[in-house]
């Protein structure tokens, strides 16, 4: 472009740039090359539902972002090696001890690297938040039926993300080679060893030989910082792509149908809110990391296979497995010339295997029972699907009890009761709690359904004053802007018979569903 075509007069220059100024010009250039205008406009207008429960997935996404950022920081200083060195660092109680480079470098990150302790604790807290928000997000999706057609695929992607997050959390806290994490690796080794037919071969190949070996930490490191995060990243991309492609679900409500999405547009409202939310999640993580100590490995000390400490509990998301191992009876079976360590294999391999496989298959299982093959974009209220809600509550009760069972020793110590009592109590509770949770939840759902207009606004009155000064309150029909759309049940699909509510002779209405 020659100089002559650039107007010197500012107003003329602005006119030459077109209606939308420099940015508009830049967008034009971009569109010439990439053709972004049409799709970009649609994307800017994309509607996001405003309901708070849609925020749970965002917590997961943003804690993953924090994990990536803090994790990159940590890789600069962490040495993934089991080579033994003598510690001479700034933490004097450990001075002169034989430690591995993994342990030494983690202590150095905590005490020597500026901001290192903050980054380490943020990383660990963000992980706990990540897995936690995934679980709660998944519960939301389950209880509201958001996994139904067409979203079964995204349910499986999400469940895979949860499993990978748990696995990577375990790999991550195993890296510092401290007394607690080393014990965790020892237990994992024994779990792999317990698998019939191939256990000992698998264990030797996964861990590079007999326990403890020197291959574990370098292998866990590359899995933890590269391979698993890469898969998670790819699946997050797939999860979001499917979400955009299929659009959000939404709760029934004013103007909301199976054929539309109601809420706020991507730009600028959602962008502002969600970026703000990223900052809030980051801020809360940083505050937790500042004021709530997590995994002080320098207090645990270097892992040695012959040493151990009291109260060995894993991170919370592994708790249900540890609890299952604690309370499962000692059913080792020997027969056919072989040992079947069922006391390990059932609680630690078979049980989670069944749990996650049923979760994967849940959309299909539910369809099998309901015969519902329709497209669903409107969400269920949990009370309107009492059986599903009761099954979910039952599974959560089971997992909660197993989680509590991972602290039998601490509970026994705290309440001054014998360990045997606690273990037996937990064995009973693990069986009984789900059995109670199911009918209880089911009943509560029915009761909530039965409350007509429960939680709804009162009928509005129009208050008028007559010429004489008299006030008159006239009940009026609700103006339609106040209709309680959010509180009315979704119309039942056509293939389900609506139950008749015939009054009995007594005149008492009984609800049978």
């Amino acid at each position: 472009m020659s100089d002559a075509t650039i107007p010197t007069n500012p107003r003329a220059r602005k006119r030459a740039e077109g209606r939308y100024g420099k940015i508009g010009k830049a967008l034009d250039e971009l569109d010439d090359r990439l053709g972004v205008a049409k799709g970009g406009r649609t994307f800017m207008d994309k509607i996001f539902p405003d309901h708070w429960s849609f925020m749970l997935g965002e917590i997961a996404l943003y804690s993953f972002v924090i994990l990536l950022v803090t994790g990159v920081f940590l890789t600069f200083y962490f040495v993934p090696s089991s080579a033994v060195v003598i510690y001479h660092g700034s933490y004097l109680p450990l001075d002169g001890q034989r430690v591995t480079q993994a342990f030494e470098s983690t202590v150095n990150i905590s005490f020597k690297v500026r901001g290192g302790l903050l980054m380490r604790q943020m990383h660990h807290w963000a992980c706990d938040i990540f897995v936690g928000s995934l679980v709660v997000h998944m519960a939301r999706v389950f209880f509201t039926g958001a996994f139904r057609k067409p979203r079964e695929l995204n349910w499986t992607v999400g469940l895979t993300l949860l499993i990978l997050a748990i696995a990577n959390g375990f790999l991550g806290y195993s890296l510092p080679d401290d007394l607690v994490s080393g014990t965790g690796i020892r237990i994992t080794y024994s779990i792999v060893l317990s698998i019939p037919f191939v256990g000992s071969y698998l264990a030797f190949w996964v861990f590079g030989g007999n326990f403890p070996g020197t291959a574990t930490i370098p292998r866990f490191f590359i899995l933890h910082v590269l391979i698993v995060p890469l898969i998670i990243l790819g699946l997050v991309g797939a999860h979001l792509f499917l979400l955009v492609r299929q659009k959000h679900t939404q709760f029934p409500g004013k103007g909301k149908t199976e054929k539309n999405v109601v809420g706020s547009p991507m730009f600028p409202v959602f962008i502002a809110k969600t970026t703000g939310f990223l900052f809030i999640v980051g801020g809360v993580t940083a505050l937790l990391a500042s004021f709530a100590q997590i995994n002080p490995i320098w207090q645990f000390g270097q892992y040695q296979a012959s040493r151990i400490s009291y109260a060995v509990q894993p991170d919370w998301y592994m708790g249900f497995l540890d609890g299952a191992l604690r309370i499962f009876p000692s059913w080792e079976f020997t027969g056919f010339g072989h040992t079947w360590p069922l006391e390990i294999f059932i609680p630690a391999v078979l049980f989670p295997g069944i749990l996650f496989n049923v979760a994967y298959a849940w959309p299909l299982i539910e369809r099998k029972f309901t015969g519902d093959n329709e497209m669903h974009n409107l969400l269920d209220r949990p009370r309107d699907r009492p059986k599903r809600t009761a099954i979910g509550a039952s599974v959560l009760a089971l997992l909660a009890m197993l989680f509590i069972a991972s602290s039998t020793d601490v509970i026994a110590n705290f309440f001054h009761v014998s360990l045997q009592t606690v273990v037996w109590a937990m064995r009973v509770l693990v069986i009984v709690s789900p059995l109670i949770a199911y009918p209880l939840t089911y009943k509560i759902c029915l009761e909530l359904q039965g409350i007509k207009r429960g939680g709804k606004r009162k009928t509005p009155n129009v208050v008028s004053r007559s010429v004489e000064g008299e006030y008159i309150a006239t009940p009026t029909p609700a103006y339609h802007a106040d209709e309680e759309h959010e509180l009315t049940a979704v119309p039942l699909p056509t293939f389900i018979d609506e139950e008749s509510e015939t009054p009995r002779e007594s005149g008492v209405r009984t609800v049978e569903r």
Partner: protein, 318 residues
């Protein structure tokens, strides 16, 4: 939907975001008094900015970690709250609506897609069954062969390593510092972790050979039939690996004479051959036969008579 009271209706009925006039109620902020809200948000931004500057200063002077975290955390938090409030109260309040379009194509499109794959592709494969079979078979074989270096190179074969420890006839028992343990070292009721001499600092010694030595009397102690000579002068030695998941049995309950695993609380009675008394452990801890030599040192008569630690497939039933 009644249209009796349209004035209540204006901003509560979802509308499409395109083609709205600038004064459309949907484009107005949700806040009743935007000026005040703007002031509040500006305050959070200023606070956030100050805290972030504080974070920078704290980093430069190498302040305590919690000061770093508090300035950064509160800084991010205030920015976040301000930004969310901006989006929620000062930006177009909506609600807006977007139509969904059917994901599924028309039946013609579907047929064309299926035809492209089934007819065109299927035709090719059917006409060249040999090639297709060779390609499929070749890829299958290659996948299997590729598994070999992927899996097999990862580690050695277990072979006998799970069956034996480094205890041999005459091996001295040493403590974690490498000092030989002799008969006068332990008082009744006390325990010490011992290793075969020379392995106390090796991975295998630590993880496989670790043995707990407990003294429960002054006389020879017989835990089970057939173990008459195994507990000289009240010294009993058991594998320290829990038979449940291989944690070291680190706790000794002196009064009850129980070894307790801190991981999953299996309890083993030392007086009857470490038979599990409670908990998930399925088998007794293997007992190491001991003798006391003429110099008073504690030595092993032999290796354990069975594999130590958790169960595994090849472990024989004996």
């Amino acid at each position: 939907m009644s249209d009796a009271t349209p004035e209540f209706d204006d901003h509560r009925t979802p509308v499409a975001i395109t083609g709205l006039s600038a004064d459309d109620p949907h484009l107005q902020p949700a806040a009743k008094n935007p000026q005040t809200v703007e002031g509040v948000i500006a305050t959070t931004f200023v606070l956030g900015l100050l805290l972030m500057a504080g974070f920078g200063a704290a980093y430069v002077v190498n302040a305590k970690p919690y000061i770093l975290g508090a300035t950064m955390g509160f800084g991010l938090f205030f920015f976040g709250v301000g930004l969310v409030a901006w989006g929620k109260y000062l930006m177009p309040r909506g609600p807006f609506v977007e139509e969904r379009h059917d994901l599924a194509g028309s039946s013609d499109e579907r047929d064309a897609f299926a035809a492209a794959i089934v007819e065109r592709g299927g035709g090719v494969v059917k006409r060249r069954k040999l090639l297709a079979g060779l390609l499929g078979g070749g890829l299958g074989v290659f996948s299997l062969v590729a598994l070999f270096p992927l899996l097999r190179s990862l580690g050695p074969l277990p072979k006998g390593t799970l069956f034996y420890t480094d205890w041999r006839k005459g091996t001295y028992a040493v403590d974690s510092t490498g000092r030989r343990v002799s008969v006068g070292d332990l008082a009744i009721g006390s325990i010490v972790t011992v290793f075969p001499e020379g392995t106390e600092n090796t991975d295998r010694g630590q993880a496989v050979d670790q043995t707990v030595l407990v003294r429960i009397s002054n006389e020879n102690f017989v835990t089970q039939k057939g173990r008459e000579t195994w507990g000289p002068k009240g010294y009993l030695a058991y594998s320290k690996l829990c038979t449940h998941l291989g944690c070291p049995i680190g706790l000794y309950e002196q009064q009850l004479q129980l070894l307790v695993c801190p991981c999953h609380q299996s309890m083993f009675n030392v007086t009857n051959g470490a038979i599990p008394q409670f908990g998930p452990a399925p088998r007794p801890l293997p007992q190491l036969p001991l003798y006391i030599d003429s110099s008073g040192y504690i030595r092993a008569q032999d290796d354990y008579d069975q594999p130590v630690g958790p169960g595994f497939w090849e472990r024989r039933t004996a």
